[in-house]
């Protein structure tokens, strides 16, 4: 008995948390990530590696289905926690830890899943058939286990027969804007077509978040955008610096954050490695930006846009430092959702992720309805 308790205790100490951020819950999500770190837990990238499913914000629209599917994909022992506001996270995680430690409860959960054929084993019954997205391909003949095979495509770079695979990216991926889904067709790892949409937001305003109330939180959110790009670019050290600036702002210590951001900007500007590895990724020409209804500052490649994001974070942090919590936040031009898809076409999957992150998280549904048809 003592040994079992010791084993379980050690295992739960290293728990990993899959965070689902609902649209509008950004401040709560950032606070939740801090709470996860404070427990010594870590963030999981996928449900397969997670012990805890942490749902932040209000689950609306199509998101409840996604959350259910993710919950089924957690291997177990597993626990679910729901958080609505910034202050809730620590208590919710403590409850999740208690659930994970409870061996009897976990065994019952596992037996019940196995009995229902919904266990994490080699089943075909319990899962939704397409873990990556919800395309309807009932009309297709070749669909082993309900998953349609990749199709041929007319414009194919390598002439392979089964090489066009429809996949839905999002809404839950590491460093991905909340509530965003992008339906892509992949040739291998190359994005051929892409169409962005929003899920889980309020009816009237699907993606764009209600701006957080105070300047410090806005500045923290901007740092979070920077951290996302750097993490996706695979530069851990830089991402960690951006996140530490974010955490400092959330703790209301603006000066430290500004110093960190200035230092980070210097390192990004002078990193030859980063320049080389991001050079030419997702380049947007001025004409293209105009056609898609994008602001001037998306022009350039991902590195240029990363520098723009750092500038925005710096500006917001400076405004907070100078005038306190009620200072007006510098306005950021929003990116219309319909412009996102066309920017990804021709990128490989990793580059597409970088492009999405480099646009920041101020995505709005297109104000001009006609464009929706044209952009698809």
């Amino acid at each position: 008995m003592g040994l079992r308790r010791w084993v379980v205790g050690r295992a739960v100490r290293a728990a990993r948390v899959l965070v689902v951020e609902c649209p509008g819950a950004r401040p709560a999500r950032m606070a939740a990530e801090q709470a996860v770190a404070a427990r010594g837990w870590r963030i999981a990238q996928t449900p397969a590696s997670a012990d805890v499913l942490l749902v932040v914000g209000e689950v609306r629209g199509g998101l409840d289905e996604v959350v259910d599917r993710l919950w089924e994909a957690l291997p177990g022992p597993r626990a679910r926690a729901d958080v609505r506001t910034e202050g809730d996270a620590a208590a919710a995680l403590a409850r999740a830890a208690a659930v994970l430690v409870d061996g009897r409860g976990q065994r019952a959960d596992a037996e019940q899943r196995d009995a229902a054929g919904a266990g994490p084993g080699d089943d075909t019954g319990g899962h939704d058939h397409d873990d990556t997205g919800g395309h309807d391909h009932d009309d297709m003949d070749m669909a082993p286990d309900g998953i349609p095979l990749a199709e041929g495509a007319e414009q194919d770079r390598d002439g392979l027969e089964m090489d066009a695979l429809p996949v839905r990216l999002g809404p839950v991926l590491p460093d991905w804007p909340a509530g965003l889904v992008i339906d892509v067709v992949l040739h291998g790892d190359l994005v051929v077509t892409a169409a962005a949409a929003a899920v889980g937001g309020p009816e009237h305003d699907p993606v764009s978040e209600p701006l957080p109330e105070d300047t410090a939180t806005v500045a923290a959110a901007r740092c979070d955008d920077v951290a996302a790009v750097l993490a996706l670019a695979g530069w851990e050290e830089g991402a960690r610096a951006a996140r530490s600036a974010r955490d400092v702002l959330l703790a209301r210590r603006g000066d430290d954050a500004r110093a960190t951001l200035v230092d980070l900007r210097h390192r990004v500007e002078h990193s030859r490695w980063l320049r080389w590895s991001l050079a030419g990724t997702g380049t947007v020409t001025p004409e293209r930006a105009r056609d898609l209804g994008l602001a001037e500052d998306v022009v350039g490649d991902c590195r240029d846009r990363l520098l723009v994001l750092i500038t925005r974070a710096e500006a917001a942090a400076r405004r907070y430092g100078a005038s306190g919590l009620d200072a007006p936040v510098p306005d950021v031009p929003a990116v219309p959702l319909t412009a996102v898809g066309p920017l990804l076409e021709g990128c490989d999957l990793g580059a597409a992720r970088l492009v999405v992150a480099s646009l920041g998280s101020d995505l709005v549904p297109d104000p001009v309805p006609q464009r929706e048809a044209a952009g698809a």
Partner: protein
């Protein structure tokens, strides 16, 4: 002094070699955790127990397999990485002892590191998941870029020693370590080790931008095996560098086996520490570096070594 005729060990020695490799891999995990904690400004103490906690967590976690996954190939790939690492160190002499004293030990190591291609690809292929598969593609793209430079890098010490037997290569460095007059080959070899261990700048097959890539669908003991395999490969790569470039067991005071371990630990530590310094190499750019920069550089290195050997007669 390294013995040119090493003693082949029995089953007990084989088990000991496995134990040493896993201990080295564990040391790498702990060092990585401590460095991560220090970078984040956290106390390093917790990081020391972390590998134990993580291991226990993964052993307690259930295995899972997505719909229509190719479970057999997936698990072969995942379990194979540790095995390949063990087979790599089999030809590395530890002082007087060696598990397998092959005449073609250098080629053996090369064959093992090519086996990593298959294994990582299978780990990506198995779970029937887009992100895993893209991780597999990425590894093959990297492998095309790093494998030829790596091959030619380990040719240099073999030419220098005029032997493909690892013990002979170590013995040929009596006076002067090969790392001193084959620095380019050594650097390229180390990059190759980072690459086949999916480490540091070459960790893109399990990158965040593909949601963990080949790791995306792994849970429980399957994930543990793949992660352990990466660290074991890194340790095996560091161990093989010792007889190839770092003079094998030669050194003052300590016995040969102790020098081999000390050198391995130092190189392994350096490889682990590199991880935090460099951002990822995007796979589509890897060929550019591999074939335009590294391959010509290492070929020139081989030429220089060959000319020196020929001139010495």
């Amino acid at each position: 002094m390294p013995d040119p005729q090493p003693v082949t060990v029995g089953p007990g020695g084989v088990a000991a070699a496995g134990g040493i490799l896993l201990a080295l891999a564990l040391a790498a995990v702990v060092l990585d955790g401590v460095l991560a904690a220090r970078a984040a400004g956290l106390p390093a103490g917790a990081a020391v127990a972390r590998p134990l906690d993580e291991t226990v967590r993964l052993l307690r976690q259930r295995r899972r397999a997505p719909v229509s996954s190719d479970v057999l190939l997936w698990r072969l790939g995942g379990g194979g990485l540790v095995v390949v690492a063990l087979l790599m160190v089999a030809v590395v002499p530890l002082g007087r002892w060696v598990v397998a004293d092959l005449d073609v030990g250098v080629v053996w190591f090369n064959a093992m590191d090519v086996a990593v291609w298959v294994l990582v690809w299978l780990v990506g292929w198995g779970p029937n998941s887009v992100h895993s598969l893209v991780g597999g593609y990425r590894f093959l793209a990297l492998a095309l870029a790093y494998e030829l430079p790596l091959m030619f890098a380990i040719v240099a010490p073999a030419v220098g020693a005029a032997s493909l037997r690892v013990a002979d290569v170590a013995a040929a460095q009596e006076g002067l370590w090969f790392v001193v007059w084959m620095p380019v080959a050594f650097v390229v070899y180390c990059l190759g080790v980072l690459a086949f261990s999916l480490w540091g700048p070459f960790a893109v097959p399990l990158g965040r931008d593909v949601a963990g890539g080949v790791l995306a669908e792994l849970s429980g003991v399957d994930r543990l095996l793949v992660q352990a395999g990466r660290y074991a490969l890194l340790a095996a790569g560091a161990a093989f560098a010792v007889p190839m470039f770092l003079g094998g067991g030669s050194g003052p005071v300590l016995p040969g086996w102790a020098w081999v371990l000390v050198k391995t630990v130092l190189l392994l530590g350096a490889l682990v520490a590199l991880r935090r310094r460099l951002p990822a190499v995007r796979p589509e750019l890897a060929m550019e570096v591999g074939w335009v920069v590294l391959l010509p550089a290492v070929l020139v290195q081989d030429l220089v070594v060959a000319v020196v050997v020929a001139a010495r007669g």
